[in-house]
Symmetry: C2
Subunit: 320 residues, 2 copies
C-alpha cells in the first residue's frame, strides 16, 4: 500500500513530496475541491463552519524515540478532531502544515500523513490541503473544519444544578507519559494511550442532541479544563472522586512509580475525553458518566474535589 | 492603543498572552463565535467554505532584522488572504498558530497580532482563533476561511486562446529582497513591498464575476506559478515581455545591482499578484493587464517568454 519514495525531503523536493502526499489523501463526500489549488473547497451544511487550529512541536508535544511517525499523525489528527467533538460537531476536513528538517526521511513524512488520514477517515473527514516548509524541528499545524448538525455546544452554558459528566478514558495517556518519562515501555495499554489517544468521537454530537449546556475536551488536564468550563459558564464545579473508577492499569502504574493513580485522572490531559454539563432532568446514556455538579455562581470558576481544593491542580502551561 | 503587557512569553504565560491577544481581535459580522472556546464558528454563505493553510518560519520566510513584528503579521495575513483572492473569494476568518521561544518579548507577539488583524480587517476578515506554543524559532501557521460569492475559480480551467492577464504589482518584493540581501535599505518602496506586500485584493472576486477560467496567485515566482496554472489547465502559456512595464524603482535596483530588472518581474514571488485566464471575448477592466496567451495543449504545462524558454525560470523550491 505504501508508495515508495526513497530519499530525504531535500532530495525529493517540495513538489515531489506534496504530490506523493496528496495522492494518498482520499477525498470524502464533503469535499468539493481537495488538494492542489490555492485553497480547498468544503461543503458546509447549516450555514456555519466550525474551525480550530492546533500546533505540535517535536520535543515538546511528541518525541521521535517514543512515538512512530504514524502515531504522531494519529495524535495530531485526534487532538484537532477532538475540538470539533467538543463543540458537538462532526469534522469534515483537515488542513495540515508540516515544517521539517531537509534531511528528514520522506518515509517519515508519508507515514505521518497516513496516520493522520487514517484517524480522520474514521470520522469521514478528509485532508484537503496544507503546506510544507523547512524547519529545524518537526512542527505540525493542523486546522480542522466541521459542522454542528445538532447545534453548537459552547463552554459557557452550564447552570448551577447541572450534572457534570465525562465521556471517554481519562488519565491513561498521562500514566503512559509517566511510564515513558521513567524510561519504561509498559504497561503497553497506557503507553499506547499516550501515543494514540482514543477520543470518544461519537460522544460530542450525542451530548449536543441530549441538550448539553456546556462542553470541553480535556487536553491540558481534567481539573484545569473543567476550570475553563466553569469560568466561561460563571459557575463553580465540584468533582466527586468516588465517581471515578481508577482503572487497573493506572493502579499498576501508580504502584510501580509510587504515585497516587487518582492524580493521572484528575490532572492528566491528552486523552481528549469530553466533559459536559447537562440539565438535571436529562437521562444520560452509558457513554456519559456523572462525575460532579455545577454549583452556585458566587465562587465562579472554582473547581473543587469532594468539596475541597485539590492540592496538585496545576495543568499544562505552555510557556512555563 | 497598544495594551501594555510587559515581560516575556515565559513570564506572562500562555493564558495571559492569549487573553491579551484575543482582546485585540475585533470580530466581524461573519463570526458566530470568536476566540475562547474549543473551536470558532463562522457563517458561510452558499453552502461552501474555501480554506487554505500556510506556514512561515523565522530565518526562512522572514528575518527579525529586516522586518518589524507588525510587518511580519501583515505579510502572514496577506499571503493567506491572497489564497482566497486567487479562488475568486472573500476571506471571512483567520486562525493563527504562533510557535515562539519563551524569551520572546510579549510586545513582539502583540505587535505581530496587531499587524495580522489590521491586514485582515481591511477585507472585513476576523482572527477567530488559534494556538500558542513554545518553539525554538518563531513559527507562524495561518489558516484562512472564505466564501466565493461569484463562484470558485480553479487553476485548471484555462483554454487555448484564453487571454492571460495579471493584476497587481509584480517584481517589487523580489527587488526589495535583492536590496536587503546586499545589506541596503533603499529604494524604500521596494523594501516596503518585500516587508508588506499589497495584494490586489479586489481583483480576485472581480475576475470571478468577469468569467475567469483559471486563476493563481504569484507567491513562488511568476513563471513558476503560471506554470502551475498551465499544467493544471493542460495548456501552454506564452508570456509577452513587451506587455510588462518595468517600473522605475525596479530599473534603479537592476542598475545598482547589475542585474536585468525583468528578472524581478519574471521570476520574483511574494507580491501576491494574481494571474488569470479569460475567454478572448471578455473586456478586461484596467485592474487586469494582458501579459500573454494560453496555447494549444500539445505542450501542456510549458511556459515560454516571447515564444522561447526563459533561461532563469527556476522558482522557489522549499527544500532546495
Amino acid at each position: 500500500m505504501t508508495q515508495r519514495l526513497p530519499g530525504t525531503l531535500e532530495s525529493v523536493g517540495e513538489f515531489g513530496l506534496v504530490a506523493a502526499l496528496t495522492a494518498r489523501f482520499a477525498q470524502g463526500s464533503d469535499v468539493v475541491l481537495g488538494p492542489g489549488d490555492d485553497a480547498a473547497v468544503v461543503r458546509v451544511q447549516g450555514g456555519e463552519v466550525v474551525a480550530s487550529l492546533d500546533m505540535s512541536v517535536q520535543g515538546r508535544h511528541f518525541r521521535l524515540d517514543w512515538s512512530t511517525a504514524a502515531d504522531i499523525g494519529h495524535k495530531a489528527a485526534a487532538q484537532n478532531l477532538s475540538d470539533i467533538n467538543a463543540m458537538g460537531g462532526r469534522p469534515t476536513a483537515l488542513l495540515v502544515g508540516l515544517g521539517a528538517p531537509p534531511d528528514l526521511d520522506t518515509a517519515w513524512a508519508l507515514e505521518f500523513a497516513d496516520g493522520l488520514a487514517e484517524e480522520a477517515s474514521m470520522l469521514g473527514a478528509s485532508v484537503v490541503g496544507g503546506d510544507l516548509t523547512r524547519a529545524d524541528a518537526i512542527t505540525i499545524a493542523v486546522t480542522v473544519l466541521g459542522v454542528c448538525e445538532h447545534g453548537v455546544v459552547r463552554r459557557s452554558g452550564a447552570h448551577p444544578g447541572d450534572v457534570v459528566a465525562l465521556a471517554g478514558r481519562q488519565g491513561w495517556a498521562d500514566a503512559g507519559y509517566a511510564v515513558l518519562a521513567r524510561g519504561f515501555r509498559s504497561p503497553r495499554v497506557v503507553v499506547d494511550a499516550h501515543r494514540r489517544p482514543a477520543p470518544p468521537y461519537s460522544a460530542g454530537p450525542e451530548a449536543a442532541s441530549l441538550g448539553a449546556t456546556a462542553m470541553i475536551d480535556v487536553s491540558d488536564g481534567l481539573l484545569q479544563d473543567v476550570g475553563h468550563l466553569a469560568t466561561a459558564s460563571g459557575v463553580a464545579i465540584d468533582i466527586e472522586s468516588a465517581r471515578f473508577e481508577v482503572a487497573e492499569p493506572l493502579q499498576a502504574v501508580g504502584a510501580a512509580l509510587g504515585v497516587d493513580p487518582r492524580r493521572f485522572v484528575l490532572t492528566g490531559g491528552d486523552d481528549y475525553c469530553l466533559v459536559a454539563a447537562f440539565p438535571p432532568h436529562v437521562t444520560l446514556p452509558p457513554t456519559w458518566r456523572p462525575i460532579g455538579r455545577a454549583l452556585r455562581r458566587e465562587a465562579a470558576g472554582t473547581v473543587t474535589v469532594d468539596g475541597a481544593d485539590y492540592a496538585d491542580s496545576a495543568g499544562h502551561q505552555h510557556f512555563r
